[in-house]
């Protein structure tokens, strides 16, 4: 019985009639249908780690049975089918108007979550006065709904009143902790410029990157230690130019799932966390689309069905910062960023046993010339950048009966990274990543399921890094630093994994898994066993725990510059988690409390002073991660000599959509310490990503009449940095070199920033026009991101963070 996988489920309040209900005289009293029997259903086979929501339109007859149900907003074909199957078996107490039973239409959102708290069935939802409660549906929840007109059993379909409700189903705990954002929260939070991937920064355990760079700092780990995946395939860069906007159209996403640690054996090659970006199937109810124009870029999207089983969505975005800067003709500004991205999704669901999806997406960032000066006039001082990647990904799910499911996904890509700085530096990296995933899931017995999978990455690539002395060819002196690194053999990283999921007495879930990775580039294999469990103490309270071993190969740049005396191996981490979940379904409120400890072993460490310079430490690593470039000097050497220990406490509170007040929001607080030891015999020091306190409060208020106001407040400990205690002047060149103090023994002041987003939606039939303004750093706080020094390091300046940045935009939606 597949439903045994799921924790208990609940149907929540049947709320007021939706805003679209007909006007009614005030004298009538309506009562929505009351759910008497909730039918729980499991996540579709193989989707236990996925969250989804299916919005259904359900007609409840005067006998309380479900007369019809249809999907209004798809959550994916398999989720749709599961939700429809369950809802059609619901039993209701019929709606009444002035005490007369009547047919009624409810909009019912069946939610499959990935949060770990189970919620019990609610056999009977409390009565709700239709005239005083808002509807649960997003845009329709703008105002208290009017009462429906007095009707009776003979009402036609078009006349029956509409109500809303929501049910929630929990998945099994493949990951010890999973946090997910979906729906409106993806694009409506302040400070994100409507960018879904930015919303992950609202979650506990996520550190604040400097300058709003779009990198993941997960539980004090370096950005390079975490992976961003799209549909199970890693993507090299999440944002254009390190943070302007994400590479994937947010409105083509179903949600983002964030695993800050102790993730399933399905994932590997990372010792930090995983961010899974979930693209959605195109909507099929009618054609949809939008055009969005703001001060930085313009984008457009169109989607719809092109047959009974086939649907398609396409989106494109192009920036025009370069055109604006070129028109402004700013003296001294030779180049400007320009970017574009595109996405296309084709979904084909021929029957209930097959689901096929083709994704095509890509992104290109370039520095383009905006100066009219002759090219050779600034040749030695010029910088060039072209950073692009493209992917074609095919996903197929096939069900073999009720108990066996096979998912296979294959993606082929092309990545290009060309960087040049005059004649002194050039990096040319081209790769053709191939990712194949195949996962089988089978129910072997009641309460026992087995998952086995293959995760294969093959990456043919070509890499050239050339640094050249300003004075000419390399000279035969000890200080010569000219360098030519070259490599063009493929990287082959196969992995297999298996996972057993056991449910004991319907209150305890245990997932045991192990993963075998082979890193051919270093000739080593790693075995990573992991276990997670969840104990449902009560309907609203559960306890989670997890422990696991994780490995991560060194990157190619590190391999090429490994210390002559050592051969680089993988880095390791042990993750331990203990958490509790509390949910108040009626209030749409949930809490999570998590304690974690991570121990890092064989961490790859660059030799030399830790975190030196204005762009050393966290900022240098964040830039490297955000842009895909290496920022270490050509003489940098690496070795597996580092250790790390990271521990902390995370508190999360979430106000979810559909609650009694038109607010959604997150409150996150992380108390954490991240320490590194770089070389044997040295002392432990703070890591550059140690942010002791991370507090985020984000609220979005649907005011009504299409107005929406959102605000996000962040208070974060300043980043540690290594102070400069002196300098030594090289009399040969006249340049001063800094002498550093204790590693990361100084810290920038507390970071604080308030972002506000305000939007107004105008509706004209099926067309919506949204006017929005997103203001980052409303009170223009000059937070410190680092320290810059004068030529001899006797004077210093704080490097300020981004100033107030208003972003005004207009979006037309169909």
């Amino acid at each position: 019985m597949l439903s045994a996988w799921a924790a208990t489920a609940s149907a929540q309040d049947l709320l007021a009639p939706a805003a679209s209900a007909p006007e009614a005289p005030a004298a009538h009293v309506s009562r929505p249908p009351q759910l008497l029997e909730f039918i729980e259903t499991a996540h579709p086979v193989g989707r236990e780690a996925d969250a989804s929501a299916v919005l259904l339109s359900v007609v409840v007859g005067i006998d309380g049975s479900v007369e019809s149900a249809e999907v209004v907003e798809s959550g994916g074909a398999d989720f749709d089918a599961a939700a429809l199957d369950a809802v059609r078996r619901f039993r209701f107490e019929p709606a009444t108007i002035d005490g007369v039973p009547t047919r009624a239409r409810i909009r019912y959102r069946y939610v499959f979550t990935v949060t770990a708290v189970p919620t019990p069935p609610a056999p009977e939802a409390p009565d709700v006065d239709a005239a005083s409660e808002p509807a649960a549906e997003g845009d329709a929840a703008a105002a208290p709904s009017p009462e429906p007109e007095a009707v009776h059993a003979e009402l036609t379909d078009a006349e029956i009143p509409t109500f809303s409700a929501e049910g929630v189903v929990e998945p099994p705990p493949r990951d010890a902790i999973t946090r997910r954002i979906e729906g409106d929260a993806l694009t409506q939070m302040a400070g994100t410029r409507g960018d879904a991937l930015r919303a992950v920064e609202l979650m506990p355990g996520v550190g604040r990157p400097a300058f709003g760079l779009g990198v993941l700092i997960v539980r004090g780990a370096a950005p390079q230690d975490s992976q961003i995946m799209l549909g199970g395939s890693p993507v090299p860069l999440a944002y254009h130019f390190g943070g302007i906007t994400s590479f994937y159209q947010s409105r083509l996403l179903d949600g983002i799932t964030f695993m800050p640690g102790n993730f399933s054996v399905r994932y590997g090659r990372a010792v930090g966390g995983i961010l899974e970006v979930d693209p959605r199937d195109p909507r099929t109810d009618r054609p949809h689309g939008f055009i969005d124009v703001n001060v930085i870029d313009a984008s457009a999207m169109i989607e719809g069905a092109i047959g009974p089983h086939l649907s398609i969505a396409m989106a494109v975005r192009r920036s025009y910062i370069d055109a604006i800067l070129s028109a402004l003709n700013i003296p001294g500004l030779g180049v400007a960023p320009a970017y574009y991205d595109y996405q296309a999704t084709v979904a084909w669901n021929p029957d209930s046993s097959n689901r096929v999806r083709l994704l095509m997406y890509g992104s290109d960032d370039q520095l383009v010339t905006v100066s009219s000066a002759p090219a050779n006039a600034t040749a030695n001082a010029s910088f060039g950048l072209d950073n692009q990647f493209h992917r074609v990904q095919l996903q197929w799910r096939h069900l073999y009966g009720e108990d066996v499911q096979h998912d296979i996904s294959a993606s082929l890509g092309f990545d290009l990274n060309q960087t040049g700085a005059g004649v002194q530096f050039r990096q040319d990296r081209t790769q053709w990543p191939i990712v194949v995933r195949s996962e089988w899931r089978a129910r072997l017995a009641e309460g026992f399921h087995l998952v086995a999978g293959l995760d294969l990455q093959v990456t043919p690539f070509h890499l050239d890094i050339v640094t050249q002395s300003q004075s000419g060819p390399t000279q035969t002196t000890a200080r010569a630093t000219d360098l030519h690194l070259h490599r063009d053999d493929p990287i082959f990283r196969p992995a297999i994994y298996a996972e057993g999921q056991i449910t004991i007495a319907e209150i305890l879930d245990v997932v045991l898994g192990t993963r075998l990775d082979l890193y051919t580039e270093i000739g080593q294999a790693t075995l990573s066993p992991r276990v997670t469990s969840r104990l449902r103490v009560s309907d609203q309270f559960s306890i989670r725990a997890g422990v696991g071993l994780f490995s991560q190969p060194p990157d190619i740049g590190q391999l090429l510059q490994a210390s002559a005396s050592s051969i680089l191996g993988p880095a390791w981490a042990v993750h331990t988690d203990l958490g509790i979940d509390i949910r108040f379904p009626t209030e749409h409120l949930s809490f999570q409390l998590d304690g974690f400890y991570k121990h890092l072993i064989d961490r790859v460490v660059a030799a030399g002073p830790a975190g030196g310079g204005a762009f050393g430490g966290a900022l240098g690593m964040e830039l490297a991660s955000a842009t895909g470039l290496s920022f270490t000097g050509p003489n940098t050497r690496y070795a597996n000599t580092g250790l790390g220990r990271i521990y902390g406490l995370e508190v999360a509170a979430r106000l979810e959509p559909g609650g009694p007040i038109p607010l959604i929001g997150f409150l996150s607080y992380t108390l954490m310490r991240s320490e590194w030891l770089d070389h044997p015999g040295e002392d432990w020091h703070l890591s550059p990503f140690d942010q002791t306190h991370i507090f985020t409060l984000a609220l979005s208020w649907q005011i009504g009449s299409g107005f929406e106001l959102a605000a996000t407040l962040r208070l974060v400990s300043g980043n540690p940095y290594t102070p400069v205690t002196g300098s030594v002047a090289d009399l040969g060149s006249g340049a001063y070199q800094p002498i550093y103090g204790a590693a990361y023994s100084a810290r920038s002041p507390l970071f604080n920033r308030l972002d506000v987003r305000f939007q107004k939606r105008f509706s004209i039939g099926d067309v919506g026009i949204v006017l929005y303004i997103d203001i980052q750093n409303v009170y223009n706080q000059a937070n410190q991101e680092g320290v810059s020094y004068n030529y001899d390091y006797t004077q210093s300046n704080p490097i300020p963070s981004l100033p107030i940045i208003p972003s005004l935009g207009l979006r037309g939606e169909l």
Partner: protein, 331 residues
């Protein structure tokens, strides 16, 4: 040239807002502006061949240091310690200060009385048993206390300690050491090259530089008068073909080639600004041009301001030479 993190990042700070944000803050004093007494260059002068820039084991050499100052220099006490250099620092970092690979050896300390044209030097006896080869260098540390001495130099940190009321400064330079003089590098020579200021000869300064009221001293090639109200003066300098030596080297693809030196001219000035460096090579036809931007005329006294310039030529292989030029700047 090492592509430092800073310079590489400078081209990659891509979001425009980041560029704007980084540009804010207090303006620093430019590195080429001489506002205090400091040492800016050095060179070794072997007793056996003063033109040679590289040392031989067991020979005697003088280490000459260029001390610059806006006027009469401050009193300066200095110590010099040398040691065989580590190719990189023990951990391999390129951004680290240089380190000793073997115990250091000291030479007798030097001190400098306040002077208008101070000359600071050390006498060095190169150890006979010092490692020699194409990749071997002698690392020279100089610690100075400006105002009061004596300095205490620690090459392990490295660092220098001075009395409380003195300013401590630490310098280093790497000197190449070869087993024989064959193929050794030589210093370029600036002092015998023509300098022009606004197309006029610009010669060595007179011995009695007028620190005040320089307009009272007649204009001459050694101390020309320049008005800040006129267009920015053009400085031209040149080198001889024999200053650009041929040497064996590797190109970026590690192929053995015969390369020719280029000269980088650093400049320092006591008033106005003259940022950056000037490159002289075959492509520039052995000529270099520098534009100096004087301060605003309204800020200058009627009796004129003595402006001192130092030009330091480096061939990037240890060869160094420098000259001083001066002018009287009037409103």
């Amino acid at each position: 040239m090492t592509i430092s993190r800073g310079s590489r990042l400078a081209g990659l700070l891509l979001p425009a807002g980041f560029l704007l944000a980084s540009a804010c803050g207090r303006t620093f004093t430019a590195a080429d502006f001489v506002e205090r007494t400091r040492i800016v260059a050095s060179r070794v002068v072997p007793e056996a061949d003063p033109t040679r820039a590289w040392l031989l084991p067991g020979e005697h050499a003088t280490v000459e240091l260029l001390v610059v100052s806006p006027g009469v220099s401050d009193a300066l006490d200095a110590v010099l310690t040398a040691c065989p250099a580590s190719l990189t620092d023990p951990q391999g970092g390129a951004a680290s200060p240089p380190r000793c690979a073997a115990p250091d050896f000291s030479v007798p300390p030097s001190s400098l009385a306040p002077a208008l044209a101070p000359r600071l030097s050390f006498e060095l006896d190169v150890p006979v048993d010092i490692p020699t080869g194409l990749t071997d260098e002698l690392l020279v540390f100089v610690g100075s206390c400006i105002g009061a001495g004596p300095p205490v130099l620690d090459t392990r940190l490295p660092g220098v300690t001075c009395p409380a009321d003195a300013r401590a400064e630490l310098y280093d330079v790497a000197v190449h050491v070869l087993a024989s003089a064959l193929g050794a590098n030589h210093h370029p020579s600036l002092s015998d090259e023509p300098f022009t200021l606004n197309m006029e000869d610009w010669g060595e300064p007179p011995a009695d530089l007028p620190l005040e009221n320089c307009v009272a001293t007649p204009s001459s090639p050694g101390l020309p008068h320049v008005s800040a109200s006129h267009p920015a003066p053009m400085i031209e300098l040149a080198c001889s073909a024999d200053d650009l030596e041929m040497y064996p080297a590797f190109d970026a693809d590690r192929h053995a080639i015969v390369a020719r030196e280029s000269l980088t001219i650093r400049h320092y000035v006591t008033s106005g600004s003259m940022p950056g460096t000037t490159r002289i090579d075959e492509a520039s036809e052995l000529m270099g041009t520098v534009t100096w931007t004087p301060p605003a005329a309204m800020t200058l006294p009627a009796e004129g301001t003595l402006v001192r310039f130092w030009f330091i030529a480096s061939d990037h292989r240890g060869g160094t030479d420098w000259v001083e030029r001066d002018l009287c700047l009037t409103p």
